[in-house]
């Protein structure tokens, strides 16, 4: 190798290192770079009040103002999709710098109010992160919220009194500080995707779009 070629090769290699580092931290908040599924048109932030696990009313829009808010509809008797989403988000929030993680709220609305008492929901969420908010409401209320977000209503599967499954929309909706959701995260979203996108969502200035 000639000295110039050597220098060029080294520079290229160092640039690759820089890119690798940048892709971990994600400091260029361009929506096109998000790993999540960008919506064709942003969704306005849902406006509803349900009951939190302390039994108090929780006005979603007001309580989450100014935060990146990850909203998920699931149930605690769910063995795979729901706990995997929660575990992935919780693990990534623990690894992010506190100044980023503290700007993210996670809200889980149960689609199974018959079995998911506030106490059961609290115990379940505590297995992932005690700061995660759990909300309960009637099936009609929750289906109304789903409809307002253009998501299908939850479906009970099975005839058992207590032994049944729920079908439900499996994506996590990410509302940003502009009170809109531009991106959703389907089942199968990996920790590397959350770690990439959450800092971008926290820093993104969507008004410039």
């Amino acid at each position: 190798m000639t000295p110039i070629l050597r220098k060029a090769a080294l520079a290229a290699a160092l640039a690759t290192v820089a890119l690798s580092v940048a892709s971990c931290g994600g400091d260029s908040p361009r929506p096109g770079e998000l790993h999540g599924a960008v919506l064709p048109a942003p969704l306005p932030k849902a406006d509803f009040t349900l009951t939190n696990t302390a039994g108090e009313p929780f006005a979603f829009r007001e309580e989450t103002q100014g935060y990146v808010t990850l909203l998920f509809f699931g149930y605690t008797s769910c063995p795979d999709i729901c706990p995997v989403h929660m575990a992935n988000i919780a693990a990534v929030l623990r690894k992010l710098p506190p100044q980023t993680a503290s700007r993210v709220k996670v809200v889980m609305v149960t689609v199974d109010p018959e079995r998911d008492t506030p106490e059961r929901l609290r115990t379940w969420l505590n297995a992932f992160d005690p700061s995660f908010v759990g909300l309960t409401g009637s099936t009609e209320e929750v289906n109304g919220i789903l409809r307002s977000l253009m998501l299908p209503p939850a479906v009970k599967q099975g005839e058992g009194e207590t032994d049944y499954l729920m079908g439900h929309a499996a994506q996590v909706i990410a509302f940003t500080t502009d009170d809109r959701a531009h991106v959703v995260y389907p089942s199968g979203t990996r920790q590397v995707d959350w770690a990439h996108d959450l800092p971008l969502l926290v820093e993104a200035d969507w008004r410039s779009e």
Binding site: M1, R6, A9, L10, A13, L14, T16, V17, S20, V21, S23, C24, T76, S77, C78, P79, D80, I81, P83, V84, M86, A87, N88, A90, A91, R120, T123, W124, A127, F128, L151, P152, A154, V155, Q157, D163, L165, M166, G167, H168, A169, A170, P186, S187, G188, T189, R190, Q191, V192, A195
Partner: protein
Amino acid sequence: MKQRIIGVAALVAVLSYACGERQPERVLTASKGHIAIYDAVATASAAPDVSSLYFTIANAATSPDTLIAVSTAAGTASLHTVVTDSSGVTSMRPLVGLVIPAGASVGLAPGGYHVMLTGLRRPLVAGDSIFIVLDLARANLLRFRVPVLTYTEMVERLGTLDHE
């Protein structure tokens, strides 16, 4: 100079590894004849009565085998797959026989095939282990011990099945 470039390349590899999902070596859990079970994991109960099981089955035979059922004294085990319908509703469906093709592996992983554990006699706690029994059409019964990890540890161990 060449060494420096190789060193930088190695650093890139390490950083890419640190950024990406870890892909650890698969760990043999149990084997019997042509069937080997890798990376078996049970999850610690988040709800007290519900949990899940994951593993990979490898079939070294020249003909397929079929996983018919999974059972455990810990509770009721149901073999499930995950489907999303045209309206966007995602749900679990019972899996009636999981075929393991000749010379191939089939993985049960988050977001895909899994075993749902319900009616647990007591919550599964991380650090414990449970015995499970697989019933295969040709290999018959395989009984082995499965470690219990938290959901977070499980996902970090197995990754998440990417649907895209």
